[in-house]
Symmetry: C2
Subunit: 337 residues, 2 copies
């Protein structure tokens, strides 16, 4: 169905018609000038992220439903990185003429899937025509008890540096998708992704680590600092160091990398650590805890201790099992490159 | 200065370096995974709006500072339309390579100007590269006492329909700018805007009507419904009717139109009421009040009573001083057309 047939208001109605609100604090969702969130005793967390076609995603290999889901997930991840829980979401979307109503619905389906999984209410947004590519801007509102909010700035010397899951897989997935796209566009065979479900999934369907925030609470651990890994480990560790005014030591042989990530790196003849340190989009949580909590964190079973915080003057270095320390450098993550 | 010279993080630092926080509820602004807003006894209002180059604005005649200011203002307007006050703002911006650091700073300057005028804290956002045009997505967080939030859905039969300021001026300003652009691009004389400051200003520098919300509070008036006029009077009245499940009568000779709007309409040989009803971007407030508050609203001095609400079955009509009632139709506002 052509969007012109039902118009902007028709499209909005279609996209939002059976949104069921899940949170008691959501007083008013979609359909007014602003969403209304009840007064409550927690602090409100707000984060926004813009995703642009050709920069952050490539529709040749990104299913629309996955795109919608990922757009929501990466925003939830920002709220978890504050040790809070996402509660409400607003979606602004710019759609070019080549999109059909069904395609926009697919994007929303993905967003709803993510919202349902994380107990988030879709409470508002903006739908507009775009002359160029697809543009998605998501704002997430979260909540956290005032004494549990974790900033990037609280890391102290001797704190342990922890990371959830494993790193570099999403970047290897992206490299594979890009390679297969190039082969295909050059008239070669259609994309061969078999056996690479894991890394492709990590790129196309990242999971925001609600479970880690849950586990930390159950274990009564409040990290001293936390950030989510969107730009690669190097960049995020340097953010924590800068904002906490400390240095860091990371042990190269402690960095968690999945077997499939190593396998793909070998196939591409590259060092998997490049993906872990300078890749991106893993959306794992990086956090610091006081040294005495070592055993408690180990007991969580799903977090690796990869290093420790040092005094500010000592800089940030990777320590290989043998050889010289390597100065940590933020290359950031060039999306789509 | 080329943005590449200082990079994304350098640009963010430059843009946010001397942001002073104004609101006691702003616990943490720019620089973490999310902004943090203190728990408070008011309800939180959240609204988001996306502005795309070529769709919502034309950089040939929109100064960047004005653009930044307007992008913020139209979002504040949504919060005022809930009878609340904007407190925090997040800015996601997609910038193409052709922009310099100074140009992005200009956009931010405009946003800051608006924020200072309205007591809003810039607390976060996202800065990204765009392959195409400039993309701005603003999210505003506001606050309102729970018993004072005004929805679109509360209008009752016999309520008076009120509007602030005057209508159609922004649309006439847009038509003038478009005309002068076409003349100029066809090799004609440079834009002649002299004597048209008012209508051009209404389009390029709209003001969100904080003063109306202030005045309503001082007079202890809580509207039964409210909306801001972004798409033209017709569209907004129909929104109120639909969401309140009522009809409406608007008196054509009560619609406030400025002298300069009339003058320009005459020059372009069009009916100024077309601009008032189907133009847009006036960002005035349209609201309904119970009939007994008639004198109180009149005494405000800056609001016109333009009609009244009727039973749902009676539809929405414009009543001319002579002649047949005209059925209200929402053409919406086609931006840039």
């Amino acid at each position: 169905m052509n969007i012109g047939e039902i118009g902007e208001f028709g499209l909005i109605e279609k996209l939002t018609k059976d949104i069921a609100l899940k949170n008691p604090t959501t007083v008013k969702g979609v359909g007014d000038d602003a969403a209304v969130i009840a007064a409550h005793m927690e602090e409100t967390l707000v984060s926004t992220d813009m995703l642009l076609e050709g920069v952050h995603f490539d529709l040749t290999y990104t299913p629309l439903k996955h795109l919608g889901c990922k757009a929501a997930m990466v925003n939830f991840s920002d709220i978890y990185a504050m040790n809070g829980y996402p509660r409400q979401m607003l979606v602004a979307i710019g759609i070019s003429k080549r999109f059909t109503v069904e395609q926009v619905e697919e994007i929303y389906e993905g967003m709803r899937f993510a919202c349902d999984l994380h107990g988030v209410d879709l409470v508002g947004g903006d739908t507009t025509a775009s002359l160029t590519g697809l543009t998605i801007c998501i704002t997430v509102v979260g909540a956290c008890e005032p004494d549990k909010v974790v900033y990037r700035s609280g890391a102290k010397p001797a704190d342990l540096i922890c990371v959830s899951g494993n790193l570099g897989a999403a970047y290897m997935g992206l490299l594979l998708l890009e390679r297969e796209k190039q082969v295909f566009e050059a008239g070669g065979k259609s994309p061969q992704l078999e056996g690479h479900d894991y890394i492709v999934g990590r790129f196309l369907k990242p999971e925001a680590r609600k479970d880690i925030v849950d586990s930390l609470r159950e274990a009564e651990i409040v990290p001293t600092s936390m950030i989510d890994i969107s730009d690669g480990l190097s960049s995020e560790v340097l953010h924590l160091c800068k904002q906490s005014n400390v240095g860091a030591r990371l042990f190269l042989d402690k960095i968690p990398v999945a077997r499939d990530t190593n396998r793909m790196a070998e196939e591409l003849n590259m060092n998997p650590m490049t993906a872990a340190f300078n890749g991106g989009e893993d959306y794992e949580l990086l956090f610091t805890i006081p040294l005495p909590l070592h055993d408690k964190v180990k007991d969580l079973g799903k977090v690796d201790i990869i290093g420790h915080i040092v005094e500010p003057g000592q800089g940030a270095y990777i320590i290989p099992p043998d050889g010289e320390p390597i100065k940590l450098q933020a290359q950031g993550f060039v999306h789509g490159k």
